[in-house]
Amino acid sequence: MDNWKPTAQLESLQIRAELLIKIRQFFFERNVLEVETPLLARTTATDVHIQSLEVLSVDSVLDTKFYLQTSPEFAMKRMLSAGSGAIYQICKAFRQGEVSKIHNPEFTMLEWYQPGYSQSDLIDEVESLISAVLPIQAIPKLSYREVFQQQLGFDPHNISFKKLNSFAAEHIDVGAQQLSQTDLLQLLMDAIVVPHLPKNIFVYDFPVDQCALAAIKKDSDGQEVAKRFELFCSGMELANGYYELTDSNEQESRFEADKNKRQELGLPEYPLDSKLIAALDYGLPNCAGVALGVDRLCMLAAGYTEISKVISFTTDKT
């Protein structure tokens, strides 16, 4: 019986501790304030592809349903609206059902916000952080449209569903399933595009259907795009950032759209975060924010391809 032992390799614990010191040093030097926000809250992300873990409280004071946070985004945005200035947080985040070689339902997230930053300002800062903690320099940056044009030869913003469907069918067998335009783009991105890109790369300006909580703007070609970026390292999604949506009406309608889609798909419905809407109403400063997977950063630093090697005790081994 040695199932009491940590899942992590002991040397990776050392690497993690060093990474955390370097990250804190990086933000200390840039005057970004470290904050903490609740992991347990009454509301949670409504994104249809992210499921929250529910916690029932039978406490006489707080007799309600709580959710383990899937990211500290809402609370940090409320801080920003209140005038916190630049902030960062290293915290645990929880996502139900996410178990794979590179997913654990409980994981460590680094999230930070920079008021006054554009998408490209924040991409540069993520690059600086990566260079400060990993032996990686000068990460190439390409738009979502460029990577699709380069690897697959079409413009992902302007391809008909029919064409995309027949194109995808040549590369990926999905049987008789009905997939959406976004599903097909994401499958092609994962299966064909990312594996052929440079090992480390920023991809920015996503299709509007994949906007999540990013602002939508026109790019230099007049194409409406989501001001969202991702950093891929060794084929893994390491960071996801936005030039943040600040419009409370737009935020409210995205919440409503998620709610309707959740109903349609038979997924649990979560209460809408009216306090976030109120904070946006009050005024979220123009800012850019990003979330980065710290466990995956440890994997890259230690040279492991499995997340279990860098997490002290993965959820299935608790």
């Binding site: 994104d47 592809h49 992210i50 059902g97 996410e98 178990v99 794979s100 070689k101 997913h103 990926i172 067998d173 999905v174 049987g175 399933q177 997939l179 976004t182 599903d183 994401q186 499958l187 991105m189 994962d190 299966a191 994949q210 999540a212 991702e230 999604e237 996801n240 979330a291």
Partner: protein, 190 residues
């Protein structure tokens, strides 16, 4: 028949894909931070051996295939069918056709035990053990004492298979053969 949801997918699971019995070899979960989760599944068609990948939206389900892998004793061939008997004392017999027997017919020996895959109780594939011992029924005469030098010659075995053997092998010798590569291993004379 029951269904399996993607969350139940794992190596070894037998499923019905496009009306054909298949075995899941690998199941990889693909989940972008923002976006649909998928299961990328490596499958083997149990009838023709084809291995390929299919991607399922997480939450989809597929029909279970009534597939049973069982050890059976080879009895005889009537030219059209190859007859096997269960080893569970039921004496129950099944007849495999050419589609099921395929290359295994090269390595058949009466009373030897083979792995037979049954789909809805009908045989769809037969796998010989990794090594079989078969008698040489035809080959050029052996060169006495020539056990060290290289050089090979063809030899026909009792099953009909032709394998490359060292020059010293004679008719009547019993040879151990690797059925995965068709290579001669050694003489296994009593």
């Amino acid at each position: 028949m029951a269904n399996y949801s993607t969350s139940e997918f794992k190596g070894g699971l037998k499923v019905l894909i496009d009306a054909e019995p298949c075995s899941i070899l690998e199941n990889e979960i693909v989940k972008p931070g923002k976006g649909q989760a998928f299961n990328r599944v490596k499958l083997r068609n149990l009838k023709n051996g084809r291995v390929w990948e299919r991607t399922y939206k997480s939450g989809e389900s597929v029909e279970a295939a009534d597939v049973l892998e069982t050890d059976m004793e080879y009895l005889y061939s009537d030219g059209e069918f190859w007859h096997f008997m269960k080893t569970d004392d039921s004496y129950e017999q099944i007849a495999a056709d050419a589609n099921a027997i395929t290359d295994a017919k090269n390595w058949l020996k009466e009373q030897d035990i083979y792995t037979v895959v049954l789909w809805n109780d009908a045989p769809i594939s037969v796998t010989p053990p990794n090594f079989v011992e078969l008698e040489v029924t035809d080959t050029d005469p052996g060169l006495k004492g020539d056990t060290a030098q290289g050089g090979t010659k063809p030899a026909t075995l009792s099953s009909g298979a032709v394998v490359k053997v060292p020059l010293f092998v004679n008719i009547g010798d019993v040879l151990k053969v690797d059925t995965r590569t068709g290579e001669y291993q050694n003489r296994a004379n009593k």
